[in-house]
């Protein structure tokens, strides 16, 4: 059996590991357009700060690929997929045969149309790859006025600004929405976060966009002009607005695409033997109860694993995921789970705030918890995400949750509540299923 995996990151490697779990001899080829073996992509901002170094940024051990017998093709873009002949065509014209294909191509950064944006410049760019981080690190050394502009106040933008700040630059975040992390946070938590950023030398210009980037004769930025007409000095401009599924190469392959790749419960696309997972796919959102693109690391791993299991010939379904994220801004941990800004009046919101240190918000739909924000104190947040993902009724615990006694739910219910298998399995769950049993692992 010949397996080909497009994408050498979380979804792809999780898929590869799952294939190896059930198929010890199959030929696995991993294709990546980057020149590095798998690295911790979201940690490129920590790389700027120096918290992650050239030694620790690698996602897997040095001998991971050899140990698992994965063939690695680096620095080659996939141009197209011929699903009829079952071939993957790469940049240099080579055609690679496959029996089962996994597409974990992730996302490409989205740049809103801005006058003067010049990706060729050494002082300007997006922020999703290791190369981007290296470029920015060099740019910071060359910055004369020590001023940087980050377009986008989402996770990418925030982490990029933290990294730039650590390199000694003064940073301004330009965000279209009225607050930073606008999709995940509400007004109160957004303000607390913004204040924390401001205290640490990062300015936030919310409700603003960059309309024009002024360039000097060598194509590097000198200043930006905002929608309000204000002009800000800029040595470095980083655009971190968001990513779009990287699916251009699937054109003409017959794989159904609607924003992202459409997959069924087994993570198979509309074409037989072509599977997909990660940031490029549309999966079922258990909170909003509709198909959605949820681009986060835990789901990419789960999707890759389910796809890999099916590719190796063992039937398995994926029940869908939900959005959740965790970020730390200058010592302030923030966790957002599920639906945090309800649009519907039928959903009740409960809040607890202790000055600017601790903030908790719960969103209930009837008796069911559907979303939460925890800021400052995040102990036990995993229990909340398990409760939310499983849609458990827990309205009577709302006061205890708000006061931070999240563990009281576990104490009362002991641990049988987690027996519902939601994409992951608790130890011992597989012991009656011989093909999943741990004796098959090694």
């Amino acid at each position: 059996m010949k397996y080909v995996i497009i994408g050498n990151s979380y979804a792809g490697l999780s898929c590869g590991s799952a294939i190896r779990r059930f198929d010890k001899t199959g030929e696995v080829t991993i294709i990546s357009d980057e020149n590095y073996r798998a690295y911790a992509r979201p940690l490129i901002s920590y790389y700027l700060e120096g918290k992650t170094t050239d030694e620790t940024i690698w996602y897997k051990d040095d001998d991971y690929y050899e140990k698992n017998g994965f063939k690695l093709i680096l620095g080659k873009k996939v141009v197209s997929v011929d699903t009829a002949a079952k071939k993957v065509v790469i940049e240099d014209g080579t055609k690679i045969d496959y029996d089962k294909l996994f597409v974990g191509s992730g996302g490409t950064p989205f740049v809103p149309p801005t006058e003067g944006f010049n990706p060729e410049s050494l002082m300007m760019g997006t922020f999703t790859r290791f190369d981007d981080a290296k470029k920015i690190k060099n740019a910071a050394k060359m910055a004369k006025n020590k001023e940087a502009i980050v377009v986008g106040g989402g996770l990418i933008g925030l982490k990029a600004s933290e990294g730039l700040r650590a390199l000694g630059l003064h940073v301004t975040i330009v965000e279209l929405l009225p607050r930073v992390l606008g999709l995940a946070l509400d007004e109160i938590s957004g303000n607390i976060t913004a204040k924390r950023l401001n205290e640490n030398g990062i300015d936030t210009a919310t409700g603003e966009t960059v309309t024009k980037i002024n360039l000097n004769e060598s194509g590097n930025p000198t200043s930006v002009i905002l929608k309000s007409g204000k002009e800000l000095i800029a040595d470095i401009v980083v655009v971190g607005v968001g990513v779009r599924p990287n699916v251009g190469f699937l054109e003409g392959s017959g794989v159904k695409i609607d924003r992202g790749i459409i997959v069924d419960k087994t993570m198979m696309t509309s074409v037989k033997d072509v599977y997909a997972g990660g940031d490029a796919v549309v999966i079922y959102d258990v909170i909003n109860k509709r198909p959605n693109i949820i681009a986060i690391v835990p789901l990419a791993c789960e999707e890759g694993r389910v796809a890999g299991t099916n590719m190796a010939g063992i039937y398995r379904e994926y029940s869908g995921g939900m959005g959740l994220n965790s970020v730390e801004i200058y010592g302030l941990p923030i966790v957002t789970i599920g639906l945090t800004n309800p649009a519907d009046d039928s959903q009740k919101v409960y809040m607890f705030q202790d000055d600017e240190k601790i903030y908790r918000k719960l969103v209930y739909d009837g008796e069911v918890l559907v979303g939460a924000i925890l800021l400052g104190d995040i102990a036990g947040s995993g229990i909340l995400s398990a409760i939310i993902r499983q849609g458990l009724k827990c309205l009577k615990y709302k006061d205890e949750f708000l006061n931070g006694n999240i563990y009281s739910f576990v104490i009362d219910n002991e641990f049988e509540i987690y027996n519902i298998n939601e994409g992951y399995a608790i130890r011992g769950d597989f012991e009656d299923l011989p093909e999943f049993s741990r004796t098959n692992w090694r």
């Binding site: 959740l324 970020v327 102990a379 009362d412 049988e416 012991e431 999943f436 741990r438």
Partner: protein, 184 residues
């Protein structure tokens, strides 16, 4: 459940398929002693094992009214904390079957804290790493199990673990209709 399917601890130990089983109803939080034995034992041992940089107990006792509950890693088969770990610091050790952590890679993003359905991963004080039980697979008996005199923690083989866990769930649901049939 067929009793023949269950294995004995000696065999499981050889295959490294051993778990720490919890019996929360037996835990009394060591109220009379003035300190929790398992937490203290773990703290001391972790200090020896990982040095002063990555110290802190990996087990915790949570209290609600008069009920106590030990919170410790359940060593999930497909661990959400491994999925969520962005730097790849947490991984499944194929030899021992335990989910362990390479603290050198951990940056303190708290993704695992957010993902653990048991709340078993906690931030260690103000430090920037998420500490988690590593099962103490090098020892014959983990220090917390040895320290617990109440029988709330027990070393047990994977098959028995799976069976007992399901039995506990069944007991919870059907209560008096089921008699516990397993010892050791």
């Amino acid at each position: 459940m067929n009793k023949n399917k269950l294995t004995n601890l000696k065999e499981d130990l050889k295959k490294n398929q051993v778990e720490i089983m919890l019996y929360p109803s037996k835990c009394d939080g060591c109220e009379n002693e003035g300190f929790t034995a398992c937490v203290k034992a773990c703290e001391t041992h972790m200090n020896e094992k990982y040095g002063s940089k990555y110290t802190g107990a990996r087990i915790n006792i949570k209290k609600k009214a008069d009920k106590f509950f030990p919170v410790i890693c359940r060593n999930c088969e497909e661990a959400p904390c491994v999925d969520a770990c962005m730097p790849g610091a947490r991984y499944k050790d194929m030899e021992t079957g335990w989910t362990i952590t390479n603290y050198k890679k951990c940056v303190g993003c708290w993704m695992c804290v957010m993902s653990c359905p048991f709340g078993a991963i906690e931030r260690a004080k103000e430090d920037h790493f998420a500490s988690k039980c590593d099962g103490c697979v090098d020892d014959d008996t983990p220090k917390c199990v040895a320290a617990c005199k109440k029988g709330a923690l027990k070393r047990i083989g994977i098959k028995n673990y799976s069976y007992e866990r399901r039995l506990m769930i069944a007991k919870k649901i059907y209560g008096p209709y089921i008699k516990s049939g397993v010892k050791g």
